[in-house]
């Protein structure tokens, strides 16, 4: 019985060692894009925190937990940026942060998919991320992307719900420079 316990214990240690925790470093970006009056616009969140655990060999052991400061959104247009924090859009007075937490990781052919839950404006909805993880010296780069529907999260409610003016689909993309956690 004892050797089995030892084996199990070492296995747990092994997998914990391989599923490395990373910290987000300079050069990381979290952006989004949608359309307004038929033209694409893009913006980004200057402030977000991401706890990233990733194991390419055993993706089930991976975990993303990302918290986004919605007040840090900017799109390069003053009127729009002044409108985004309001109650029709992010409503940051009530919901200052959005959060994405993975439930499980899967493979679809070569593509790794991170299935998780996005909580935005108090609404939980499943969101799947396309994951591209490239190890590098002392860390990795992680690119994720997804397309979500803003109205699923009540972003741009009331008069702004008109999708013929403001597109419903929002592409979200992040590029993370990851360093091994000391």
């Amino acid at each position: 019985m004892k050797p089995i316990v030892c084996l199990l214990a070492s296995c747990v240690l092994c997998s914990a060692a391989f599923a490395a925790d990373y910290q987000v470093e300079k050069g990381s970006t979290l952006g989004f894009s949608s359309t307004f009056q038929g033209e694409k616009f893009s913006g980004n969140f200057a402030r977000f925190e991401a706890r990233i655990r990733y194991d390419a060999a055993n993706i089930e052991a991976s975990k993303f937990d990302v918290s986004i400061d919605l007040a840090s959104a900017s799109t390069g247009d003053k009127d729009r940026d002044d409108t985004l924090p309001g109650s029709e859009f992010f409503n940051i007075a009530k919901f200052p942060n959005a959060r994405f937490v993975t439930r499980q990781f899967k493979r679809n052919g070569e593509q790794v998919i991170a299935e998780g839950t996005l909580t935005l404006k108090g609404i939980d909805k499943p969101v799947d991320l396309q994951v591209t993880f490239v190890p590098k010296e002392g860390g990795a780069t992680l690119d994720v992307s997804t397309v979500l529907k803003r109205l699923d999260f009540d972003v741009g409610s009331g008069e702004y719900a008109d999708t013929s003016t403001i597109g419903n689909e929002v592409e979200v993309k992040a590029h993370l420079e990851l360093g091994a956690k000391p």
Binding site: F36, Q37, G38, E39, F41, G76, D77, D79, D82, T83, E159, Y160, D162, S164, T165
Partner: protein, 191 residues
């Protein structure tokens, strides 16, 4: 009603272009003055979009009109003193210039401000230049100043037409009106 102009009256194409553009220009002027004071929201965004769409339409009609004018003749001037005829033609020249400059200055402003340009939600038109806040401010000022000068020129244009219609009692206005019957020329003036 003939499409082409004759010696005495404008053809239907020019008549309709004239009144359609008059409606567009005046309507867009009102819209422009109203929209800038609207409170932020979807109504304001949509009103700007309609203003831009109408402006683009007037620009397209202007191009059409200039092309048509090159193919068609203009009616002979109504009998009037030479200075009046010169003033009328000068006013027309300035009006054409402003009908071009107004939408173009708006388009430049829109581009420099980094805004989309969509025609009645149907298709988008490209920016004329890159985003540039300083230029946007100048173009916005120019757009408004040009509008007020246009209004002054239009008052001269409309005033002249009405003076000829009511006081001179000639066909200056009637020959631009669809369905209107021309007045008989004063005796002695008919060739």
């Amino acid at each position: 009603m003939p499409m082409k102009s004759s010696d005495t009256r404008w053809g239907s194409v020019i008549q309709w272009l004239h009144w359609l553009m008059a409606l567009g220009i005046l309507g867009n002027g009102v819209l422009g003055l109203v929209m800038v004071d609207m409170s932020r929201g979807m109504d304001k965004l949509n009103t700007y979009a309609i203003h831009k769409s109408i402006g683009l339409t007037v620009l397209a009609l202007l191009i059409l009109r200039v092309c048509w004018r090159m193919l068609d003749r203009a009616p002979r001037d109504e009998p009037m003193p030479r200075w009046q005829s010169l003033a009328a033609h000068a006013t027309h020249g300035v009006l054409y210039l402003f009908m071009l400059a107004l939408p173009l200055s708006g388009w430049i402003y829109n581009s420099a401000n980094g805004n989309p340009l969509q025609w009645f939600k149907q298709f988008n038109l490209p920016a004329l230049l890159d985003k540039n806040e300083d230029l946007a401010e100048i173009a916005s000022e120019a757009h408004e100043i040009l509008f007020w000068i246009l209004i002054v020129v239009l008052i001269a244009h409309v005033g002249g037409a009405l003076v000829h219609h009511w006081l001179e009692r000639d066909n200056t206005l009637l020959r631009m009106l669809p369905f209107a019957r021309l007045r008989a020329r004063k005796t002695g003036e008919n060739p």
